[in-house]
Structures are given as structure tokens and as C-alpha cells.
């Protein structure tokens, strides 16, 4: 029964996280509104990381959220990282911050002192971006296989990983690979011989790259940890995705509600009609429930170390499943309640639906996490 009980206050964010979220919200509305995302898409820019915006995020301190203070970050952790992604998600602001936070966390947990010194300061400073070439939903999604073979002086990696968010131009990859019976996590610099990155244009106007490894030779210490670390990293990625999804859900709902109040038909706002009111309430209910669930999952990630216990795993799966179900509903209802205008490319509803759909499928969809929840609960 571990992890089923709800603890008082677990779904309420701390004061620091709330303050940070307010700051990010104001920044994103001013510097990176949805119009910026649209302009970038229209210009055909699909590769994620551009140096200028990474430097801007670093100036704000957000690239160092999961980097300890001793290495130039703020060490605030996943609750803060999640609240940041939530507010960026509201504006469809594209950033590699989720990948960066997860990578920094994994290097801090599994890296040697030398590796921490080598990688964490440039991550915090915005000089190095990172990507997670980690199997996202084992058993559900075939995103390629990578095999790690023991060599006399280290490891050799061969194989492919598909759908790697933030992979284009990443200075650093964290790669999960099969090594014998278990999986393991490897740190691989982007400029390593034998590593090739291929763009893959996705529905959210971004590239989720394919990473091809052929005889990539790595030193011993490139292995940061085993299956426990891979699992824990996957859960953190999944929870940060849920946080971004929450931002999309809250903003998508707010815009839909606003439309219900302003669109006039039959001589009155369409939001006066009960058929639409009750649909709006159903959507509102899902979005309202999602926030505390995501906050609880973020706090659970900060409150444990790998191997995570059932409590943290259940919270992570709950958050991703709830976020997936909610965005699925939002994608449908936002367009339906907007009617024909919601079907046009000119309107933002489609941008929310498309980014939402991709996030929904990343790191295991709702069905994957319900299945995992049942397994963790022993049935």
C-alpha cells in the first residue's frame, strides 16, 4: 500500500516556486509569447537550440535550476524547474530546459567529481545544451535499441535512438543502452566520433532527432549508473513534461473560456448556453485537478534519490497520465468550442493541440502509465 496515502500539503507548491513561476510568467508573456513560436515556425526554424535564446535563459538563471550552487547553478530542483516549464508551456516557449535539468541532475547523481566539474558549470552558464537519448516508454514505444559492449579500456556503443527532443545541436547526450541484462546510462559529448544526429520534423514544429551511434568509444567513467538511474531519470523527464503540459492546459482553457464569453451567436455570448457551460466545467475540472497532481509529482522527485520508491513512481505516473488525458480533452474541446476558426492555421488552437499531442506521446502516454501504476500496485 506504500505511496497510496496522500500527505497533507503535497499538492501545494512552496513559496519559492510560486515566486519563480510569477517571474517566468511575466518574462514569457513579454519576451516569448505564442506569436514568437508561430514566427519561428513560419520561418522554418525547427532545430531547438539556438545559442542566443539559451544565453538569455542562462542570464535568468534557469539553465542552472538543477545544478548545485557549488557548480554555478541555483540548486532549486525539480519543483522549481517544473514551475518554470509550466509557465513557459503557457506561451509555447520552446526551450531545452527540461532536458538540461534532467541531464544536470543525472550528472550530479552519477558523475565523478571530474565529470561534474567538466559539465555542470557550462550547463548552468548556458554554454552547453543537453538531450536525453533515453528509451522513453519501454514496452510501449519502439524508439530504437542501443547496445553497450564492454571494451578493454571502456565501452563501445552501437545503435539508434529515435525521437530525441532537443537532440539537434546538443552539446551533450545522456544515452540509455542495454549492457548485458540491464540498462545503463552513459554520458556522451555531442562531438564524439561515430555519433550522428538526424533531424526529424514533428507535428509540434520541432525536431525530435534520431541519434545514430556506430562504434562510439567511451571511457569507463562514461557510464553514470545502472537501471535505477535510468528509471529515475525517465520519471523526472516524464514529470517535467507533465508540468509543461499543465501550462498548455491552463492557457488553452483560459483562451477557450475567453472565447465562450466573447463569441456572440443567437444574440448572446455562446458561453450563456448550458450545453457549452457543462462542457467547459468538465474541462475546467480536469485542468484544476492536474495542477496539484503535477506539483505533488515534482515535489516527490525532489524528495527522493534513486532507486525511487513506489510513492515517487506512482506520483510520476499519475501526473503523466492525468496530463495526457487532460491535454487530449483540451485538444478536442478547445477546437470544438472555437468552431471553424479553431480549425484554421491562423488561430493558435492548433498550435496548442499539436504541441500537446507530442508531449502526450512522449515518456509514455496515459495508457502506459496506467499500466505501470497497476503493476506497481501489484495487480
Amino acid at each position: 500500500m506504500t505511496g497510496v496515502q496522500v500527505a497533507t500539503g503535497e499538492g501545494r507548491p512552496g513559496a519559492d516556486a510560486v515566486t519563480l513561476a510569477d517571474m517566468v510568467r511575466q518574462w514569457a508573456a513579454r519576451e516569448s509569447p505564442v506569436a514568437a513560436f508561430r514566427a519561428r515556425r513560419d520561418a522554418g526554424v525547427s532545430a531547438v537550440v539556438d545559442r542566443a535564446s539559451l544565453a538569455a535563459l542562462a542570464d535568468l538563471g534557469w539553465t542552472g535550476i538543477a545544478v548545485p550552487e557549488a557548480h554555478g547553478g541555483s540548486g532549486l530542483g525539480f519543483e522549481a524547474a517544473g514551475m518554470t516549464l509550466l509557465e513557459l508551456g503557457r506561451n509555447l516557449t520552446i526551450s531545452p530546459l527540461a532536458s538540461i535539468a534532467c541531464a544536470a541532475w543525472a550528472i550530479d547523481r552519477g558523475g565523478s567529481p571530474a565529470q561534474r566539474d567538466r559539465w555542470l558549470p557550462p550547463i548552468a552558464a548556458g554554454g552547453t545544451s543537453a538531450a536525453l537519448a533515453v528509451a522513453q516508454a519501454p514496452g510501449q514505444l519502439d524508439d530504437g535499441e542501443i547496445v553497450a559492449t564492454r571494451q578493454a579500456d571502456g565501452w563501445r556503443l552501437d545503435g539508434t535512438r529515435r525521437f530525441v527532443a532537443d537532440g539537434d545541436g546538443a552539446g551533450l547526450f545522456l544515452i540509455s543502452a542495454d549492457c548485458g541484462e540491464d540498462s545503463a546510462l552513459f554520458l556522451v559529448p555531442g562531438m564524439t566520433d561515430g555519433l550522428v544526429v538526424r533531424s526529424r520534423a514533428m507535428l509540434d514544429s520541432l525536431s525530435h532527432a534520431d541519434i545514430v551511434l556506430e562504434g562510439v568509444a567511451l571511457p569507463d567513467e562514461a557510464k553514470l549508473g545502472g537501471a535505477d538511474l535510468v528509471d529515475a531519470l525517465r520519471d523526472r523527464a516524464c514529470v517535467l513534461a507533465s508540468a509543461e503540459m499543465l501550462g498548455i492546459a491552463e492557457e488553452g482553457f483560459a483562451r477557450t473560456l475567453d472565447y465562450l464569453k466573447t463569441r456572440v451567436q443567437f444574440g448572446e455570448p455562446i458561453g450563456n448556453f448550458q450545453a457549452l457551460q457543462h462542457r467547459a466545467v468538465a474541462l475546467f475540472e480536469a485542468v484544476e485537478m492536474l495542477r496539484p497532481v503535477v506539483v505533488a509529482a515534482l515535489k516527490a522527485m525532489d524528495g527522493t534519490e534513486p532507486p525511487d520508491g513506489d510513492m515517487a513512481r506512482l506520483r510520476a505516473s499519475l501526473a503523466k497520465a492525468a496530463a495526457g488525458d487532460t491535454l487530449h480533452l483540451l485538444g478536442r474541446e478547445m477546437i470544438q468550442m472555437h468552431g471553424g476558426i479553431g480549425m484554421t492555421d491562423e488561430h493558435d488552437a492548433g498550435l496548442f493541440a499539436k504541441r500537446g499531442a507530442v508531449l502526450e506521446a512522449m515518456w509514455g502516454n496515459a495508457a502506459f502509465h496506467r499500466d505501470r501504476f497497476a503493476t506497481l500496485r501489484g495487480y
Binding site: 495508457a367 501504476f373 495487480y379
Partner: protein, 392 residues
């Protein structure tokens, strides 16, 4: 968590429970009364009730002078947790504690509070709710039960329906019409002694076979003017405030029911599963997971919302979600047990199997009473989302 005062308080509660909670009552919370049965009058239960009431812990948040303990929310949470950990339970529940008590604390006169609250707190007086009428369900303000002011008393005549527990109640809080020329502003809030001449109660048999609800008839019932709560014609807003307390308690009770038997354990008894205990039917397994996840999400959300007092209509969301969970759990149980859960009585079925069907039928009520799902949706649409129109 590490607050020394709270640590000391928890230790005090633990020690007190060791001394006062009878082991034979462990996990027997149903003895405090359910929808179908009044509180038990077994001597051991009465003694337990008296002991908890003496500490003010039946209504821990109420002021000490009215029978409470004046505890803050964090201490109340600690108290609940220590009780739960010991398998102990609050021996006093019902509408007195959850609905009329908080309403009197907010709107009652000093005399009304002093008279009624201590007896609610010690469980000696039970209350029922006289709101709905045959012609006034979701449209509650259409109520017709009349109260005419006759000097020092009202003369009340009319019919109430769905008066839960009226057959065991000592008192009734009722919405009555004191002015038929205005709809909402013609309604007043009265406290009626059920032993007054002219009060008649008739239980209603439900599809579940039980009779938790009644019809209550008032024929020229004399009610002293001192029993008017709030101003004459000011009953509607008080009555609506009380409904917020009701929604909160329905929402909270869905958490308590959750503690019952795990659905997966029932599934293993009636349905195929493998040696490791994995449920064989994927659809059933998924449905149970959906339910447990929704329940966990609601637990986390309801706790977070409880700190957010500037959103009174959150109670409507909570009522709907809680009611849906209660109903969904009953649906899953009857699906798992199939024909084994559809006995109507006799000894061919185990008692817990008979309970499956009764519970499934009774839970049809939870999305109707306390304001139907649709009424709650209207409230959320108007009060939280700010949508207009005349949706009913």
C-alpha cells in the same frame, strides 16, 4: 512535521487513545451511524462517545465553550491521522456536526449556539435537513412549506421530502416560506423540534431496499420565533451557505469510503488472475487503475483546494468529483462480482455480496442529493467561470 508542539500533541493523542479507545471498536466506524442505521447505543460505544466528547475532539475545530477543542487546522489533521493510525474513529457525525453546527457558528444567535452546539458536539441530539419538497428539487427556491408569524411563534404547514434520517432525528433545520410574494427573499431558516405536535415522519423505501430518506409532514406545527436563524426572509443565503458545508462533507466522505477493501483484492476473488496476482482481464485492470488514480488525484487536489479559501465554489467541483468516485467504485464492484453481487437476500449469498448490490443501488443517489451534478455544474459555470445566461 517537525514542529515540537505538534510532536507533543501527537504523543498526547497517542497516549490518550491507548487509555481510552476500546480495542473491540477498532475499525468499527460504522457504529457511529451510516445512511441506513442510526448511531449504535451499545454501552461501549456510548462510553467511547462520552470520552471523545469530553476532550472536545468530536468537533475539534469548534470553540471550547460550545463543546469543541478550539484546534487549528494542522492540529485537527494530526488528530485525524493519529485516530486513523490507531483504528479509532469519531463517534459523532451526521448533519449536526457537518452542516447545521458550522452554520449556527456563523449565523446563530448566542442563545442558539449555547443551546444547540454542545448537544451536537456530544452526540446527544441528532439533526435532519428539511429542504427539498415534492415540487422543489433542483429548483429549491420554489419551496412552498409555509411558516406564518403568529406573535411569539410561527405556524408551520407543508411537506418536506428526502429528509435523511428524519426517523431518528430530534431536530430539523428547515427552509420555509414566510412570504409568498417573493421567491428567494420570501424564504426563512427555521429550527424545528421534531417532537412538536403536528410533525409526522414516513420513511421512503428506495430501490436498494433501505430507507435512509423520509417524507416529513408539518401540520400547524408551532415553532417559537427564537428558532429563526438570521433575519426573516433571509433564509436563502444561510441555506446556501449550509449547502457549501454539505458539499464539503460529501466530498470528504468519498475519501473515507476509499479506505475500504481494495478493488484488486475483490477482483482476485471473482475473476481470473495469474499466479503473481495480476488481473487477467486487461479492461478490468485498466478500469481499476483509472479509478485508483482518479481517487489519488482527488485526494491530492482536495487537500490543496482546502487551503484556498477564496474559491467557495470549489466545493461544487469537489462534490461532483467525490460523488462520481463513489459511484464509479460501486459500479466496478458490481461488474467484478457479476451475478454473485446481485443477490436480493437470504443465505445463498455472503453478507458482503449482498452489500455490493445495496451499495450500487444506493450510490445512484450521490449524484442527485446535495444538489445534482447538473446543479453543481451550473454553480461552477456561474460563480467560478463567470459565464452568464440563465442556465438551470
Amino acid at each position: 512535521m517537525t514542529d515540537p508542539a505538534e510532536t507533543a500533541f501527537r504523543a498526547e493523542v497517542k497516549a490518550w487513545l491507548r487509555d481510552h479507545f476500546p480495542a473491540e471498536l477498532r475499525g468499527r466506524a460504522e457504529l457511529a451511524g451510516t445512511a441506513d442505521d442510526p448511531p449504535s447505543d451499545l454501552p461501549v460505544v456510548l462510553a467511547w462517545r462520552a470520552a471523545v466528547a469530553a476532550r472536545g475532539w468530536t468537533v475539534p475545530g469548534w470553540p471550547v465553550r460550545y463543546g469543541g477543542a478550539g484546534l487549528a487546522a494542522s492540529a485537527i489533521a494530526a488528530l485525524h491521522q493519529e485516530f486513523a493510525a490507531a483504528g479509532a474513529w469519531n463517534p459523532v457525525g451526521g448533519m449536526g456536526v457537518t452542516m447545521i453546527g458550522p452554520t449556527l457558528l456563523e449565523f446563530g444567535t448566542e442563545a442558539q449556539k449555547a443551546r444547540h452546539l454542545p448537544k451536537i458536539a456530544d452526540g446527544s441530539i441528532r439533526w435532519c435537513q428539511g429542504y427539498s419538497e415534492p415540487g422543489a428539487g433542483s429548483d429549491l427556491a420554489a419551496l412552498q412549506c409555509r411558516a406564518e408569524l403568529r406573535g411569539d411563534h410561527f405556524l408551520v404547514s407543508g411537506q418536506k421530502v428526502w429528509t435523511s434520517g428524519a426517523q431518528w432525528a430530534d431536530w430539523c433545520f428547515a427552509l420555509v416560506r414566510t412570504d409568498s410574494s417573493k421567491k428567494h427573499a420570501g424564504i426563512s431558516f427555521l429550527l424545528i423540534d421534531m417532537r412538536t405536535e403536528g410533525v409526522m415522519v414516513r420513511p421512503i423505501r428506495l430501490i436498494s431496499g433501505s430507507s435512509p430518506f423520509c417524507e416529513t409532514f408539518f401540520t400547524d406545527v408551532e415553532v417559537p420565533v427564537d428558532n429563526l436563524v438570521g433575519p426573516l426572509g433571509g433564509g436563502w443565503s444561510i441555506g446556501m451557505r449550509l449547502l457549501q458545508y454539505e458539499r464539503g462533507s460529501i466530498s470528504a466522505s468519498s475519501h473515507e469510503r476509499a479506505g475500504a477493501v481494495a478493488l484488486a483484492d475483490v477482483a482476485r476473488r471473482y475473476r481470473p488472475c495469474d499466479a503473481a496476482g495480476r488481473i487477467g482481464e486487461g479492461e478490468l485492470r485498466s478500469r481499476i487503475a483509472r479509478f485508483e488514480m482518479a481517487q489519488m488525484a482527488f485526494g491530492i487536489a482536495a487537500d490543496a483546494w482546502s487551503a484556498d479559501t477564496d474559491r467557495p465554489a470549489a466545493g461544487s467541483l469537489g462534490k461532483n468529483i467525490g460523488a462520481r468516485l463513489v459511484q464509479e467504485r460501486a459500479d466496478i464492484l458490481i461488474e467484478i462480482t457479476g451475478l454473485n453481487g446481485m443477490g436480493s437476500g437470504g443465505d445463498a449469498f455472503a453478507e458482503d455480496e449482498l452489500e455490493v448490490a445495496r451499495n450500487w443501488l444506493f450510490t445512484k443517489a450521490v449524484t442527485i442529493y446535495g444538489g445534482s451534478t447538473e446543479v453543481q455544474n451550473n454553480i461552477v459555470a456561474k460563480r467560478i467561470l463567470g459565464l452568464g445566461g440563465t442556465a438551470r
